[in-house]
């Protein structure tokens, strides 16, 4: 038997060819990234241009479907001159405040309920049927009830946002608790953890990725709850702005408010993603970073 060792004399040429290949691969990645960004911008520009031209030449009736320039003028006038209900920032602030309160209360309640029911078989079996029923009620309708009961102020909008958020977060927290790894729980138990320690150090962290996933969706729901609540009856807020614009057949106003709401949602989504990355920094990086 002879051991075969590779020749070492060609090491230098090998090094340089590796460096060249590496530089090429990097350049290729760079080009691809630029291509993706470029295509995204191109699609946006083409879309807006077609819309604008379509409105100019009356293929699209700007009275119903507005036009990019009309929307921009509307936003600009809201920013500079204020809306019929007062300054724009106040409308944004009111809607955001309702959304946040509803989101926080609903999420905390959902997490707590999910963990309690997830950890207690009997409670889960008893309450599961009622939660299913409550979940199948179209919750937006509750907005009318809340406005009758809680008035036109902030409370009715917050209540609607809470109801919208609670069930989504609850369902995820419950599932997350149930999916906690059996052997990880047994491991903690044998290492000496009490039931309370198991809940805080094993159950909650392992349900965390489920809960965080639901927070992304449910912030959108909270916003829907607040806006629909305002739509149904309010003195301030983006929902009222839409409702007023609708009443005046002002399509520009509806679209403008919609875009402002979308920007709000995107900003908060960005903040939640940052928070998520901070909380679950133990997680391996995903193979394909979306939107990077």
């Amino acid at each position: 038997m002879t051991a075969i060792s590779p020749a070492a004399d060609r090491a230098a040429t090998r090094e340089t060819s590796i460096a060249v290949a590496e530089a090429r691969a990097k350049a290729r990645l760079h080009r691809r990234h630029a291509l993706v960004i470029g295509l995204r911008l191109a699609i946006l520009v083409v879309f807006l241009a077609l819309w604008e031209l379509g409105a100019d030449y009356n293929f699209i009736d700007p009275f119903f479907f507005s036009s990019p320039s009309g929307i921009w003028e509307q936003i600009w006038s809201w920013v500079t001159e204020g809306t019929s209900q007062g300054p724009l920032w106040l409308q944004i602030y009111v809607t955001l405040e309702e959304t946040f309160l509803g989101f926080v209360i609903g999420a905390l309640g959902g997490i707590a309920a999910g963990i309690i029911l997830g950890r207690n078989r009997l409670l889960a079996d008893v309450f599961s049927i009622y939660i299913k029923i409550a979940n199948s009620v179209p919750r937006v309708v509750l907005g009318s009830v809340f406005i009758i009961a809680l008035g036109l102020g902030m409370a009715s909008k917050v209540a609607l946002a809470v109801v919208m958020v609670f069930f989504v977060v609850f369902a995820n927290a419950f599932q997350g608790v149930r999916e906690a790894d059996r052997s990880m729980i047994a491991n903690a138990q044998i290492l000496g953890a009490s039931p309370f320690q198991i809940t805080t150090t094993v159950i909650i962290p392992s349900a965390m990725s489920w809960i965080l996933a639901s927070l992304h969706v449910s912030f959108g729901f909270a916003l829907v709850g607040a806006v629909v609540g305002e739509f149904l009856g309010a003195k301030q807020g983006m929902g009222l702005l839409i409702s007023t614009a609708q009443g005046a057949f002002n399509a520009n106003g509806v679209f403008a408010a919609m875009i402002i709401l979308a920007v709000m949602a995107l900003v908060v989504e960005f903040i939640i993603t940052r928070f998520e990355n901070y909380v679950v920094k133990w997680r391996p990086a995903p193979f394909n970073e979306q939107g990077a």
Partner: protein
């Protein structure tokens, strides 16, 4: 039989003595499946592990090997018969027990040092002392440079080292291991087996090591329990008189080792075939 003259001495099962580290005495375990049937996991099972002894349990898939470990932890209760640990009946999870799982039971959201310190912290050790001991144990399994890493950043073998440190830091008098190295590649497994034998000889704990790998069992154990195809019961017990300390990389070429493995394999083979045929019939 001629077995008596060889290194593998076949023992006759007897009622366990009172001072054994682990005594499982004539235990049958039945449970009700979710669709309402009674299932027998193990029947008429008797097993004794003396203090400081290393026992391995081998048997075909699904014969209730892991069940025996859960009886010792107290996570499962016997339907009939009784289980005693260090002379006391098992009523709750004993502080003397350590358990190494087949799957990764590390906490992925905790760094290596936080994982290893978990046991002492759960048991109320002050934080500074817990971390000092954790640092010490991490160094002993050779991972001092990886204290701050998370489990997903480590290789399978390194994660197993963390699991060993996490278990040994509690200084268990009884160590239960459920196919702990089955997911590792050959070289890593051999290294981990050596590591385990080192730690075991320092700590003088009593070990029950469940495996489906007969060679692993013979290489590690003082005593090998062969189980029948499910519902499992003890088919035979062998005492392995290979000298210690053993070196895992060499022992598999030892003629005595090969001889023992052959003898026990001829015993185990029919159970494995039985288990497989049954599995094919029921579609498991």
């Amino acid at each position: 039989m001629q077995l008596q003259t060889m290194a593998a001495e076949k023992l006759s099962p007897a009622a366990p003595p009172a001072d054994a580290a682990i005594a499982i005495d004539d235990v049958t375990l039945r449970f009700v499946t979710p669709d309402g049937h009674m299932m027998t996991a193990i029947r008429d099972f008797t097993m004794t592990v003396a203090r400081g002894e290393f026992a391995c349990v081998v048997g075909p898939t699904g014969c209730g090997k892991s069940t025996t470990l859960n009886l010792v932890t107290g996570l499962l209760r016997p339907t009939t018969g009784n289980v005693r640990v260090m002379g006391n009946p098992v009523t709750e999870i004993s502080r003397d027990i350590g358990f190494v799982f087949q799957s990764d039971a590390l906490f992925p959201w905790r760094s290596v040092i936080d994982n290893v310190a978990a046991g002492p912290l759960y048991r109320g050790t002050p934080k500074a002392e817990a971390y000092e001991r954790a640092r010490d144990w991490i160094a002993r399994v050779g991972l001092a440079r990886f204290e701050k890493h998370y489990p997903h950043q480590l290789s399978g073998g390194m994660r197993k080292r963390v699991a060993l440190a996490q278990t040994f830091i509690n200084q268990p008098k009884i160590l239960l291991m459920d196919e702990p190295f089955s997911a590792l590649d050959m070289q890593t497994r051999t290294a981990m087996q050596d590591e385990l034998l080192d730690l075991w000889s320092e700590q003088k704990s009593s070990v029950v090591f469940v495996t489906h790998d007969l060679e692993e069992a013979v290489a590690l154990a003082d005593k090998v329990y062969v189980l029948t195809a499910g519902p499992g019961t003890v088919k035979s017990v062998y005492r392995i008189d290979l000298p210690r300390p053993r070196v895992m990389a060499d022992i598999r070429y030892d003629p005595k080792f090969i001889e023992i493995a052959k003898v026990i394999w001829s015993d185990l083979r029919e159970e494995v075939q039985l288990g497989q045929n049954r599995g094919l019939q029921t579609g498991h």
